[in-house]
């Protein structure tokens, strides 16, 4: 478990970081919490010649409310999100998801930005940002831009980020009145990652029908995805058990489903449906509570 040798760089500014990244191209990698990158290097699955450490860019670790949004700096650790009073109140799906990630040590080092940039097909954050319809903001020598979560995850461990782009912020719209969200995860018994992880956001109309549903699913396919078929099936329908069941049945539709030692593709598809149903049930329950609150 010894990585190949590399050079280590500590940029003092964001500009310097992305300039270094532009300079090294494919030979360079950003380092955040190191909890995905360093294991890969130790297994020699990754061998960057240059590591550009972002952890000194302290002003990229924050959680703040701004108007209709909550803004989270990319270098914010899972633990800070898990324990944030602001998020527990304004966007409880995030702390709920954070709690499910790895163990205490992992949550104390790992960052939401690193997790999203790494885009492991079984990581938890992608499901949450998809369901929350978050915007992911990045900076490069060419300037700053925002990407919708649904456009961010491109393929297996591939995102829309250019190699010199630093993910700087996750901008999450606050849930409106009568909206509930939930995360349902089955942990892989060895890695602790998601065998399946489903984040669901449900907005109910006053008459109890579904105004809006957004479902993000991780662990099932080569990348996390929005389960649009599930969402469409619910739209405008009353949030009854029968409708939730029927909608959840679409959870793995059109997905090239993963198989491993613990779950065949067939079983994993089944899990996707069951956990989607559970996430929907919990989200609806919370939406109802939010409506009466």
């Amino acid at each position: 478990m010894i990585p190949q040798s590399f050079e280590y760089h500590v940029p003092r500014t964001l500009e310097e970081a992305s300039r270094l990244a532009a300079q090294f191209g494919a030979d360079g990698k950003f380092l955040a919490g190191g909890h995905s990158l360093i294991p890969m290097m130790k297994l020699r699955l990754a061998a960057p010649k240059h590591l550009i450490d972002l952890t000194c860019l302290r002003d990229l670790a924050y959680i703040r409310e701004e108007g209709e949004h909550v803004r989270i700096g990319a270098l914010t650790t899972h633990f800070r999100i898990e324990s944030s009073a602001l998020l527990k109140e304004k966007c409880p799906l995030l702390p709920e998801t954070a709690r499910e990630i790895g163990d205490v040590q992992v949550r104390n080092r790992g960052t939401i930005g690193g997790n999203l940039a790494h885009s492991d097909p079984a990581a938890d954050w992608p499901a949450a940002v998809l369901a929350l319809e978050a915007e992911l903001r990045a900076v490069s020598p060419r300037g700053e831009r925002g990407m919708a979560a649904k456009d961010f995850f491109v393929d297996l461990m591939t995102t829309a980020l250019a190699s010199d782009e630093v993910l700087v912020e996750i901008k999450v719209p606050q849930l409106g009145h009568g909206t509930g969200a939930a995360y349902a995860k089955l942990h892989h018994p060895a890695s602790g990652y998601a065998m399946v992880g489903v984040a669901a956001v449900i907005a109910l109309r006053d008459n109890g029908a579904v105004e809006r549903a957004a479902v993000g699913i991780t662990g099932v396919g080569p990348k996390a995805y929005r389960a649009f078929a599930v969402e469409t099936a619910l739209h405008g329908k009353p949030a009854t058990q029968a409708h939730l069941n029927a909608a959840a049945a679409h959870a793995a539709e059109g997905v090239d489903v993963n198989a491993d030692l613990y779950a065949s593709a067939e079983y994993r598809s089944h899990l996707a449906r069951v956990y989607t149903r559970r996430a929907l049930e919990a989200a609806v329950k919370r939406a109802r509570a939010a409506a009466t609150a």
């Binding site: 010894i2 089955l186 018994p189 613990y262 089944h270």
Partner: protein, 775 residues
Amino acid sequence: MATALLGERIKRKEDPRLIQGRGHYVDDIVLPGLLHLAFARSPHAHARIKSVDVTAAQAAPGVVAVYTGADLQGKVGMVPCAAGIEGLKVPEHPCLAVDEVRYVGEPVAVVVANSAYTARDAVEQVEVEYDPLPVVVDPEKALAPGAPRVHSKLADNVAFVAKLEGGDWKALEAEPGIKVIRQRLINQRLAPVAMETRGVVASYSPGEDLLTVWSSTQIPHILKTQLALMSGVEENHCRVIAPEVGGGFGSKLNVYGEEGVACYVSKALGRPVKWIESRRENLQATIHGRDQINDVEVYVRPDGKVAGLKCWIIADLGAYHQLLTPAIPTLTALMIVGAYHIPCVFVETKGVFTNKMATDAYRGAGRPEATYIIERVMDLVAAELNLDPVDVRMKNFPSPKDFPLALPTGVTYDSANYQRTLKKVLKAAGYTKLRKEQERLRKKGRYLGIGLSTYVEICAMGPSSRMPAGGWEFGSVRIEPTGKVTVLSGTSPHGQGEETTFAQIVASGFGIPYEDVTVLHGDTGVVPMGIGTFGSRTTAVGGTAIYLAVERLKKKMARIAAHKLGVKPGELEFKDGKVQTAGGEKAMRFLEVVAEAIFAKQLPPGVEPGLVEQCVFEPANFTFPFGAHLAVVEVDPDTGEVRLRNYYAVDDCGRVLNPMLVDGQIHGGLVQGIGQALWEEHVYDENGQLLTGTLMDYAVPRAHQFPWFETATTETPTRVNPLGAKGVGEAGTIGSTPAIVNAVVDALRPLGVRHIDMPLKPEKIWRVLRSASAA
């Protein structure tokens, strides 16, 4: 500073340094001029080595030397196997493969460099050309005629066949009304995964012709003998030190090729060398555990009395024998009747070579397999005859009055009261209420399961007549002039906490503070002889040696004190830091007696100066701890996930010397045993590639996956040793696995489920649920 007494719940002496990261493990040993080793390993499960080209690796900056199997041939001895089994085939097992590799991860060459990083990088430059050979992974296929042979020099893949038979089978088979139940039970391959991987530092000093080895081992003295033989350095010029050892679970009860190589390289170069195993190597090339196929045939009378048990064991040994590889499955045969009086037994054990890493002792070592077999058998009998599993067990238990109890397997159980532990666990769990709850939930379509395991294990290994390298243990006790006590033990605790228990034994014997006692172990230069720590023997055998040394010293001190006080030695007791007559009217302080003994001014005639005594304790028998475990699980009808709701464990390890340590051993053991039932499985594909080669794939159990364990003990002392202690290091692992499987099968009984093989992954159960609902 209260005098610690035996039986008290005392915190471990070793923990402050371990918790604060102040202990010293092998990797903390740094010597001047230290070089580092890295091994090139086979990516093939079976292949001929056509050529090994080390030129590039050798030329890499920082590389000092590279050795291949051919370089070491004839210069380092074979990896030893100590198991004595009649007719056992022992293939050559070189430290580095010479012309053939037989499992993925087999070491082929070693790089020696000035840093671990350089060594690791250079390994990638060792170019080995392989000619792949046919691979055999499944032990049943390995037994088929014409199967590829793991060792072409051997006629087939059978390492040994052992039979064990007892009782009047003719009469039983002819008995009218006897019912025969058959079942195949698979005990899957596991990885021990000690938190600290293996590691070795070897340092040869040419001037003194002295070889010093630091190894993460459970058996420093045995390792010293073997490394002397392998390296050619005379044994009285060898010293082995086991510093802090971060877990072993049997995986370090061994002598590994890498250790032989390290000694050779240090000797060849005259410089100290270090090798620290990576986790990937640990999963590949440190011994594995279990891996048996068990076909059982149970002969049962209509009332549930089990009258006979037959079992055909196929033990997957892997490609080579490690130290005890073939001996492990023979322990399964020995313990197969468990806690039951079964008059007829037949066991045939076949040890089979396959292209995989060797199996060997993993916590429980052969007994978890036996316990799994017999405890599943009891539940199969209950299900078949529609009896309560409690009743079947009660019916088959011997009475407490039957002990010592000689069994058809050839062992004699020392003492037990199986009824008492079972009743206690049923009470703790509220068994009758649980069964009612189960009924209620079943009506609602929920699957609650209750599983029992009433195990017995064989511990305190053991009488020398039955152990390959002797089964005694050494202990010595020395009182220093300041009254502090130094204890030496030939055992090699590596997390169990005997620095604490041994100090308790000594302090309570002398009536002195527990803080005044220091225990040294794990250094052959300090402790003259020893066997080591395994087989739940350390306290029962090693602790007894110390206890007896204390008794000898007390006799001597009493003579000296009696001489001074003008009383008879027999009138004196050791209490509260004094040596005194019963009422305390005549007394000397402990320290005064020590001064008398050591400064030797007025010793009674014939008494030697000094206070040091040693004892080599030879137990007359093994001990047989036992217990009753009860698991409550609920199976998720949607997904097949198993939730362990409650776990109750009542264990009887004889006299309890420190309840906190017993709890610790039980908790850790349960986790490993439950891990086998639910998650763990070391998987090779049909090409012999390891699919669970990282901890991202191999499911090691974790604390958060478990409910609070409800533990309790009963105490049935043994007469095998004067402490009355039986051993508890493996009990949790041995007892728990079948309790879980029995619980899950019990949960699914309404669906007609009779058995599911481990690990009980949700997908397997989901398939069972699905086919049941389709039916």
